[in-house]
Symmetry: C2
Subunit: 426 residues, 2 copies
């Protein structure tokens, strides 16, 4: 079937709320490692997808899913070792205080659960988020996602703080972390004026939708201190940065030596199998369970935990966190060389295999090169390299490949990006 | 590992918000058809689980998951035929008007999406639900779930109507359908007094949490007419009754010849693989897409659609809807014979393989036999038959087995229930 007839079927069957990537959408039929293949056998280097964390169709994960799916798939109202084994291995990835895990199916559900815990544990309702955050698509999470929820629709109990962006934001000096964090206090004051007690400060530890921003040193720690002093919780959304992607650390929040009250996670957890969850302290889980039970039909089932256990195996056995660090640094260095030749590259930032390349029309005024970014993303796709764009002005290339990316593949991406920028004469 | 050490690990790792079934929890390690097996190889007849709709670990579904998981698992931002093939086969199960499908991962997410569509399409906010409804566990859905959300916590935009229960409720005569439906108008009047425009009436088409209540004839049609006349939508929650379970119809709402505006579905859709979704009219999907895009990371991915396609194959190839009708009638007749011997059986109701047995201490006053019901459920478990209880007074046995249940297995359940009631001397 041609793409145009697929597009027609899609429009008719799924409606127009579904958006496709690229001017010429891809019809992908096979994936392996960092490679995706279309119907004609053409292969694409996947520099975008973080869900297939340990590589598309990793045989160890596929085998784990198949084995467990053929044996039993039930729920957490019977005893089963998979959910316990996984909870044990997952909580072992955190400081001792974060010892309790709860499971659901999507990042939105994980953030929903985190907010329920925060509201019950604190008695507060107020939530503080960055001003272009995205945390999910359910109603309560849409309300803390100004990327998709228009500012005028934010309820009074949601207050935003500026994203700690040291390239484009209001503070760019060595004190930026501290100065941005002070806005959490401003937000608390706003809540207080509105007569609303705080429940939590929720933040991606690499702030994705705002533009793949690694918070400046001291920011998370100071911000967490401020919200905790006010009786609120610090919720770290690790849906994207977690599971070793940032290279130096297994979790994004570790970069700042801070301890969250609740950590939420999702996308990469099952390498595409729908599993998500939270890790929190026993006292918070207890406060929650005194008020509410928790059951999620598919959450923590034996198959999803088998997938998630297999993902941890691969991360550990194939040293993927170290690989993310090494190849991430290699890419950053290669991008720097490209930046020397192409003034359009205004900023290169990120950690490990979570990298942003911000494109600007004017390096002095840093004017967002929004249209150019769309052209680059589409041109790269035509050249066989898959990326995406992000940020308020959609002028930031997001590089967030499967964690098995090798330097030789990074070379291909760097060369292709160079060719693309050359061809687009920028 | 013994159950007691598993219980200890579970308490430590998952906290106490997680509840287990039965006084002596089960440690299930294998499933096949309608049978579950514990660590000691003891087998249990599963009369409870509806998620494994076409039978635990059905080989056709497992093979479909394995094949697709080994080939590609991505998302709906690339073209893929699975999501279109499934949307086509799914919408073909509805009247022509219901022609658009959208996918997510859980029933809660499906109901979230339905409410977003209802609010955008109607401009209203008010929601009407039955007074012991359960529709999910996210914040917005918890608010329309009085089974778990205390009445005093219901927001002003949520108004309840009495469950159309003709055994225990206020109306029990032939006009009950009409009289219960009139309460939807009362709820609309309440919303109007509060200055709130209606968005939707949301109802299970076999009302599960309220006590497995099949709405009396005319109820759904009349109620749908009232909400539509007021500018609101009629949302049919088919998470439990859907996919042929009620025997006579593929969807619960068909029993009353009514056409919902949005249908939500979940649990049985992927036989345990996390997939859920909605089906709606093109004009409503369009109204939604004019305001909002929709993306759900795992929703509608190629593996979940492969699982869901395989489930439809099995339902059709093994005539499971017809089987539900036949075996369901067989069970109902058998239960009737038991009721003649045991006065404790106050009511037998349901459709197909979605059956309630209401236990009462006093058949005249219909006093709920709550404690006895818990004893029966636990005794049946000890005798190798798995059921659960439901309803405001937890005095209703819920029988909702995989759809492949055969009459011989139904016999075993009926015999065992007879023995149990005999042994408990009731």
């Amino acid at each position: 079937m041609t793409n145009s007839s697929l597009l027609e079927r899609r429009q008719k069957l799924l409606g127009s709320a579904y958006r496709l990537f690229y001017t010429h959408p891809l019809h992908i039929v096979r994936g392996e490692g960092v490679w995706l293949y279309d119907t004609e056998g053409r292969k694409y280097l996947d520099m975008y997808n973080n869900v297939p964390h340990v590589g598309h169709c990793h045989p160890h994960v596929v085998a784990a899913i198949c084995e467990q799916a053929g044996k039993l798939n039930s729920h957490t109202r019977y005893l089963h070792e998979n959910v316990l084994d996984y909870a044990e291995r997952l909580t072992a990835k955190f400081a001792d205080e974060l010892d309790t895990a709860m499971f659901c199916c999507t990042g939105s559900e994980a953030n929903e659960l985190a907010l329920r815990i925060a509201r019950i544990a604190t008695g507060g309702e107020g939530l503080i988020v960055t001003d272009y955050a995205y945390h999910g698509n359910t109603k309560a999470i849409h309300e803390i996602s100004p990327e998709t929820c228009p500012v005028e629709d934010l309820p009074p109990y949601v207050v935003t703080v500026p994203s700690p962006d040291c390239y484009r934001g209001r503070y760019r000096d060595a004190d930026a972390g501290e100065r941005y964090a002070a806005h959490v206090q401003v937000a608390l004051d706003t809540l207080k004026e509105r007569g609303i007690r705080p429940a939590a400060f929720v933040i991606d530890t690499i702030i994705s939708s705002d533009g793949v921003i690694a918070p400046p040193p001291g920011y998370l720690k100071k911000a967490a201190g401020i919200i905790k002093a006010a009786g609120g919780l610090f919720i770290a959304d690790e849906v994207q940065p977690g599971f070793g992607r940032t290279g130096k650390h297994f979790w994004g929040f570790e970069a700042d030596g801070v301890l969250p009250d609740v950590v939420t996670m999702g996308k990469p957890m099952g390498n595409g199998h729908p599993i998500a969850g939270i890790v929190t302290r026993a006292d918070l889980a207890r406060a929650f369970s005194n008020t509410d039970g928790y059951f999620n039909t598919f959450g923590g089932n034996p198959v999803s935990c088998a997938a998630a256990l297999a993902v941890l195996d691969v991360i550990e056995n194939e040293n993927l966190q170290q690989n993310a660090l090494k190849v991430g640094q290699y890419i950053a260095a290669g991008l720097q060389l490209l930046a020397d030749r192409h003034e359009v590259i205004g900023d290169i930032r990120g950690n490990g295999l979570f990298i942003a390349v911000e494109l600007v029309a004017n390096s002095g005024e840093r004017t967002p090169a929004t249209k150019l970014t769309a052209r680059v993303v589409n041109d790269l796709r035509d050249r066989g390299v898959l990326t995406g764009s992000i940020g308020r002005d959609d002028n930031i290339l997001k590089l967030r490949p499967p964690m098995v990316l090798q330097s030789s593949e990074a070379d291909l991406m760097l060369e292709t990006l160079g060719e693309s920028l050359q061809a687009l004469a920028v």
